[in-house]
Symmetry: C2
Subunit: 369 residues, 2 copies
């Protein structure tokens, strides 16, 4: 059978950095091999750099981004805790579900899809929640939420100084993320977006402040950060050696290590500037094609652009033609926007001028037919 | 930096089948790409064959083997349920922990490490538990437990006909597994053992009978089989199309698909016979070296052999020399046997005569020094 190759310009996965793919093919190492433990420590250190944090507890969890979300809630929320969740897309919605399963009393602050969350409304939603949760880059709508402003409000005492959780699945290594600079307590990401790796790991970081308030025996064994830290946290001062928890997904960790190396070689500011420039070029090109963008102006993510499907166009047919004729994958919309919105990602290795030219050219041709 | 290559003869990961490694380097596909959905369906179908089941709900979960364990308990156990767990090693012990976090009233049936569980004692432990759980191949001790006998007892009405859960992490595709033939209700495995793939996925299967008794809104969103089935279960009759749940780890699934293809091309009976022959040759060779085996005779796994470290030998130093001089990884023991037992795996691609010769030769040389 022929091997199929695609240009992955949907909401993720995106095509990995070549270094990430090459690393998957290297000889496999044992999860307790000293050489692999060096790769793991290096990965944690590189993750600290891209997260913008000194948190000793920064590591790749052994699941996809959604496992990162679950780990955040399951380790911080006890039954009866109040959790404020900002909801302006599918992933905010998912946080409500996950927090609810932890027994939280969830206070949701809804904003229409396609618009950014108002930090003041979130801060005013409850006087003293345990946790305030927000999605930095809403993959379902292409909207950037102002995590910095939310964090500043919490630092100044709003909402009783609650812990802040930020979903950085589609933001990390694509737009600025400053966990310590902003004052975020817990954050997670996913490998298949701007980090430029195949899906399968959830980079995760938690502040000392949040760590001290963690649930000591969470309902999840697999995502129990206390147990995981005994293996992955060799770099944590005073953690006293490594204990086996579960078998680390060594090939995926080596791949993430390689992609992070590529990103830091280029330089994080340059990587962010590249995403910014490509996203702007794509969005201008789409407007020039006569298309309308979905996310509100001022809150548009460069790495994930949402476009309204013209009313006389069959959105699914266009996506199918892009896939079949050009090998290009773009995404449909989510929920009630499934048929009326397209999502075009320029993430990681795909945030390149040639990719912008390709997708604009192909979309222009298909729409002209 | 030089690339380090090892012969992985510990308790897993083992060196993947070459086809599995090659598949990791193929162009990445989107998780909703029709071509990838074909790979996913094919993987589920191949898993049915190696599990020996017609269960429509057979799929790779997006985590390591321990995530498979957690999924089994979290989807079947409600607070207050009685769960009987057979414990004769670390993984039985882990089941007790995981079931406890689900709120189960756990009845443990202990057997000394290195000996097989007595099915009759397990069946008599409680008149009507919700679930009886056993580890088929105890990775910590190299012992095979008689799942068939336990299943037969439950089928004939013992323990009120409770559901049977079998941990097949180190057994699947190494020794006989017959989920339907025996009457096992839920089972999981891991990719890095006899399946010959890097770690990262948990093959999973659940019977219709267990499915009907499942928890409708389990505490874990990530491992909620009802939600996952809407994506992965395209092949399930009446499931009505696929819904996005989380982004499948596409590269790892493609790798598993390839390894399963290799296994089924060789033929499952031939693969099992190869493990059996290599394990026997290793165990005979170890005895010929004057070493003593740890697992009791009659219950020794061919794919994972446990050896007592001679009393005048530093077990860790031997392992270090095997690693540094020969590039061979073998495992230490677990828990109180950490320093006094070695674990030697011959799993998947490593179940080969040359590997047996290599490890026996190297160990003989190191012990003679």
């Amino acid at each position: 059978m022929s091997v199929v190759a695609r240009t992955l310009l949907g909401p993720g996965p995106s095509n990995p950095y070549p270094e990430a793919t090459a690393a998957l093919g290297l000889p496999l190492l044992g999860h307790l091999d000293p050489v692999f433990l060096g790769v793991m420590d290096g990965t944690c250190e590189r993750l600290r750099t891209v997260f913008g944090t000194a948190n000793p507890r920064t590591l790749p969890l052994s699941g996809t981004g959604s496992a990162g979300m679950e780990a955040a809630f399951v380790n911080l929320v006890r039954p009866g805790d109040t959790v404020v969740v900002a909801v302006n897309g599918l992933f905010g919605e998912r946080m409500v579900d996950v927090a609810g399963r932890c027994g939280a009393d969830v206070v949701r602050v809804d904003t229409p899809w396609g618009r950014a969350v108002d930090p003041d409304r979130v801060l005013a939603a409850h006087p003293a929640p345990t946790l305030v949760a927000v999605v930095h880059a809403e993959t379902s709508t292409g909207v950037r939420n102002d995590v910095a402003a939310l964090a500043a409000g919490l630092r100044s005492g709003a909402a009783g100084g609650a812990l802040l959780l930020a979903d950085c699945v589609t933001s990390l290594a694509g737009i600025d993320v400053a966990i310590d600079g902003w004052g975020v307590d817990v954050a997670y990401s996913a490998t298949q977006k701007c980090l430029g790796v195949a899906p399968g790991l959830a980079p995760f970081t938690i502040s000392d402040r949040a760590w001290e308030r963690r649930v000591r025996r969470p309902r999840s064994w697999y995502l129990d950060l206390g147990l995981i830290g005994e293996y992955a946290g060799g770099a944590v001062a005073g953690s006293g050696g490594r204990t086996y928890h579960h078998t680390a997904p060594v090939a995926m960790v080596a791949s993430l290590h390689a992609a992070l190396g590529r990103i830091l070689d280029e330089g994080l500011p340059a990587v962010v500037a590249r995403h910014e420039a490509c996203g702007r070029a794509l969005q201008e090109g789409l407007l020039a094609l006569g298309l309308e963008l979905f996310a509100e102006e001022g809150a548009r993510l460069p790495e994930l652009t949402t476009v309204r499907v013209p009313s006389d166009v069959d959105g699914a047919a266009v996506r199918r033609e892009l896939l079949e004729r050009y090998g290009i994958e773009i995404g449909g919309g989510v929920g009630e926007y499934a048929a009326t919105v397209w999502r075009i990602g320029l993430m990681g290795h795909n945030a390149r001028p040639d990719t912008v030219t390709l997708v604009l050219g192909a979309l222009g041709e298909v729409l002209k037919r």
